[in-house]
Amino acid sequence: MTALEFDFELERGDFSLTAAAKLDAPVTGVFGPSGAGKSTFLECLAGLVRPTRGFIRIGDEVVFDSDKKLFTPPHQRGLGFVFQDRRLFPHLSVMKNLCYGKRSANGGATVRDVIELFVLEPLLERRPTSLSGGEQQRVALGRTLLSNPRLLLLDEPLVALDQKLRAQILPYLTRLREATGVPLLYVSHDLSEILQQTRQLLLIESGRTTAFGELLDLVRSGNITHGNLDNVLALKVDHHDAQTGLSFLTTPSGSTIAGSLVDADLGKELHIGLRPEDIVLALDEVSGISTRNQLPGQIEALIEEGTRVLALVDIGIELLVELTPGAIRELQLEPGRSVVCLFKANALRYLD
């Protein structure tokens, strides 16, 4: 079943938003630069802003249809909205904030579940104003989850947090995703942040949804032209070697990748960032080189994008590699060609 379908336009002063897509992934990342209209897009879905024309369907219920003059007010849409600025109620305790929209009678998460999931027990009696940014975010997530939404909208959930807090919140987002099974729209201007949650994307650029689909399809069709592309991989910790200062991780297809030593339990799944410009392509294995990782693969596609070319290389998983047109010509790279991907162990970035 399609989780969400819409085709609408909003005109407001000199700002306009045109959005159309059919989304059915469990998690869809809404990606676009700041000021592209991502927040307004969410506000339209939630009913906080009324589009000028078009329709919006959530699950099997149409909540907005300008032709039929249908507009379901926000409190009847059953959407959960986690705002960028969290919007906890300052006059209520954390516990009362959590229970404000409680609708767990029909089988959603219970207060106990949520308190446990987001580790809120020690905060329950406190006022929101006395909480840190990360604590506030956890309360906001819990409060929204307790309203038993049928679709969750997360607007830049990490934006106001520093690097350390981000790392603290990320596991909660993953828990949220896994615990609820509620379809989720994850809005961010940071592609690697989204890619840790999903590879299904909806792109928004200057007030217009430009494309939606799987990351690599969007790269292939040349739709992702802005922002820093990133390879985000989920790898399992295989073993550590303190002497060489390396941790070895395995890909789902069984190849082993070496990264700098990381403090993580064996068997744990870690999200890894690997920038396309940090990977080197060679035609054969290279000996006498300090680079720790040499993974054989095959070029699937070459995507030209102005002065850079992106190669999509299948090494069991798909990697994006950034090259110059000159390198393509010199090595005579083309789809189907066998190559070796080289990258340093410390090019791996541990994201969580």
């Binding site: 009913g47 007010p73 009847q76 705002f83 300052p90 006059h91 404000y100 929101p128 104003t129 309203s147």
Partner: protein, 232 residues
Amino acid sequence: MNLSLTPAEWEALALSLRVAACSLLLVFIPGIACGWFLARKSFPGKVFVEALVHAPLVLPPVVMGYALLFSLGRHGFLSDTFFDSELRLAFTWKAAALASTVMSFPLMVRAVRLAIELVDARLEQAATTLGASPWRVFWTITLPLSLPGVVTGSLLAFARSLGEFGATITFAGNLPGETRTLPLALFTELQAPGGEAPAMRLAIISIAISLAALVASELIARRISERLGRSA
């Protein structure tokens, strides 16, 4: 100076308190509703509604009293239309309460409106996305967060009613025991020879009541602010 009150002065004091309390009751809910409406809704002709609500602040009170007499007096056009001329409102204590209500209404509206405008509308949005109806949003978010303004507005309205003179004397007259409130009694004493001492007593009582109301509202507002999690 003898500070003990004569029976007539006691009467004036009791009447004043009754009129002010009544007028506060009458002003309370409509004032909050109107303040919310002006703070949160925009509609064509809003500026005229605002002007109408605030008119008693800028018009001479005697003009307001005359307008009341003209519309709700013995043969006022509203009394004739709606009450079959049976309405005996003018020149009763109820008329004094109504005059005070009209005069203090804009003060209540203004205070509530300012307080509601300061309530972050984004919190109200958050509440609606959590499934709260507009009615519930008002009761659980807007009203609690604007309570200090409601208290201030109530004080202003109450004090204005205690001090109301012009509209009262025009619409309700100056009948001892019926419509002679503290300010009217004070005025009357001053008109009579040898009335300086009673006038002084009445002035002191007025000041005492006003100060007490001010202190009480300040204490309440402070307690509410603390409950709202702000520093007072």
